[in-house]
């Protein structure tokens, strides 16, 4: 029977390569004979091992069954999945908005106002060691998500740990690998886990604001612009920011609904997001609050401990002065008696 002509060049080359590598370690003559029988004709030479250099495919080889994709790279699903997993791993703070049929001009207006609001946030001050933190306001982006791919990316980030697969030899552990696919398929989703809570959020048209670091000042600016609520995050006034009250921008803001957020790998609802946005002074502010809390507690403790000994000392001192007065008074009385006697 002649060898099959339909088998692809890649697989036959792979098979021939396997044989040649096996022949170098095992019993050479027998395997080479086998290879001569089964491998495709042009590679099999009886008696002498196949030269490896001849089997190497050219670098620009494209298998005829897998022609290159015609899609733009950023629209390919594989690329999108990798982009989303990278984003989820590197982004500590994300806000999810449901966007209901915004037109292109409304998107442009919304993004313009967002950029304007972020530009007004004061740049970070230098720390005590003189290092100035990176100003993140230019890296905060408002992007529409492809929800299905994003859902899968969330699942991969939460349930696929490449280091768990390390003992399996010869397995790929990147996010597009079969291992990743199998591990997220086997995973049982718990309702209380992060993915279990994020999953219902990612329904319908969803856009995300991504922050490269947790900065409550920037978060507050975004909340004031995109989902203002009167006491804590008021919308900019018409006099201060007329562009915000532009009818196109306003109709865009009306169509955005803040549904939740993902902060430091945990799901937060509206109130939680607003709480984080309300932290004054950012992380340093929180630290300062903690320090003052601890100091006050220490002060209270020392005063409480001091109080008893102080009270005791006061009581004893009072008694001593009283006794001294009494003894003095007794002397005086005695003196007075003496005077009367004389």
């Amino acid at each position: 029977m002649p060898p099959r002509l339909t088998c692809s060049a890649r697989s036959s080359v792979g098979r021939a390569l396997q044989r040649t590598t096996a022949s170098s370690t095992g019993v050479p003559t027998l395997i080479i004979q086998n290879a001569a029988k089964t491998a495709s004709r042009q590679y099999a030479t009886a008696g002498s091992p196949v030269p490896l250099a001849a089997l190497r495919l050219p670098d620009d080889y494209i298998p005829p069954t897998q022609p290159p994709s015609a899609r733009r790279p950023e629209q390919r699903k594989a690329q999108l999945l990798r982009a989303y997993t990278a984003m989820l791993r590197s982004t500590p703070l994300m806000l999810f908005f449901q966007h209901n049929n915004l037109t292109a001009v409304e998107w442009a207006a919304v993004r313009r106002e967002l950029r304007a609001a972020l530009a007004e946030v004061p740049p970070p001050v230098a720390g005590p060691d003189g290092s100035v933190p990176v100003d993140i306001s230019s890296s905060i982006e408002f992007q529409v998500l492809r929800t299905r791919i994003f859902n899968v990316a969330c699942k991969i980030v939460d349930y696929f740990k490449p280091e768990d697969q390390a003992e399996k030899s010869n397995t790929y552990t990147h996010d597009l690998s079969k291992t990743a696919y199998e591990s997220i398929r086997e995973a049982t989703v718990d309702e209380s886990s992060t993915y279990g809570q994020i999953n219902p959020l990612i329904i319908g048209p969803i856009a995300a604001v991504t922050f490269p670091s947790v900065s409550p000042a920037h978060l507050a600016a975004v909340l004031r612009t995109l989902s203002p609520s009167s006491p804590a995050f008021p919308a900019p006034t018409r006099r201060k920011n007329p562009g915000y009250h532009d009818p196109i921008a306003q109709s865009g803001f009306q169509k955005l609904i803040l549904v939740g957020g993902r902060i430091e790998g945990k799901a937060f609802d509206n109130d939680g997001v607003k709480w984080v946005g309300g932290i004054t002074g950012g992380l340093d502010g929180l630290r300062a609050q903690l320090v003052s809390l601890l100091q006050n507690a220490g002060l209270g403790l020392t005063t409480a401990l001091e109080g008893h000994s102080k009270g005791l000392w006061l009581a004893l001192e009072g008694r001593r002065t009283q006794l001294e007065e009494e003894s003095n008074g007794g002397k005086k009385e005695v003196d007075a008696e003496k005077e009367t006697n004389v």
């Binding site: 022609p67 209901n100 329904i203």
Partner: protein
């Protein structure tokens, strides 16, 4: 040929389908949403908990309203906090004064659209008769 569509250069190396056909179709896929008659809706009141799967149909209903919906009708949305167990609300008012109180959990998005369209079609019929 390559000057017509530079994005397809790589596929022209191995043309699977004739190039004139690939040029006819856009590269991005456009999902056609089933349309809903929204002309006769005057007010939409929704309340939902985004952290619950049950709010799905209610949320999707909002995304079915057209881009210019807020000029024709009033849309109010309230979000329930994550821990609360209050039911979702979807109330729709029509031009003839009829109020619909739909339960998104049981109907689903298709059921909601069907219910709304059923009434809207009747109103459309009346409007056509009075006009013509």
């Amino acid at each position: 040929m390559s000057s017509e569509n530079p994005g397809l250069q790589s596929s022209l190396i191995f043309p699977i389908c004739p190039p004139d056909k690939t040029n006819a179709q856009p590269l991005t896929t456009q999902v056609d949403l089933p349309t809903m008659i929204t002309r006769f809706i005057t007010e939409v009141n929704t309340r939902f908990n985004p952290f619950s799967m049950r709010s799905r149909a209610t949320r999707l209903f909002l995304s079915y309203l057209p881009p210019n919906a807020r000029t024709q009708m009033q849309v109010n949305t309230t979000l329930i906090p994550r821990t609360s167990t209050e039911p979702n609300i979807l109330r729709i008012k029509f031009k003839d004064g009829r109020e619909m109180n739909l339960d998104g959990e049981t109907l689903g998005i298709k059921g909601i659209i069907e219910e709304v369209d059923r009434h809207s079609r009747a109103l459309q019929k009346q409007a056509d008769l009075t006009e013509g």
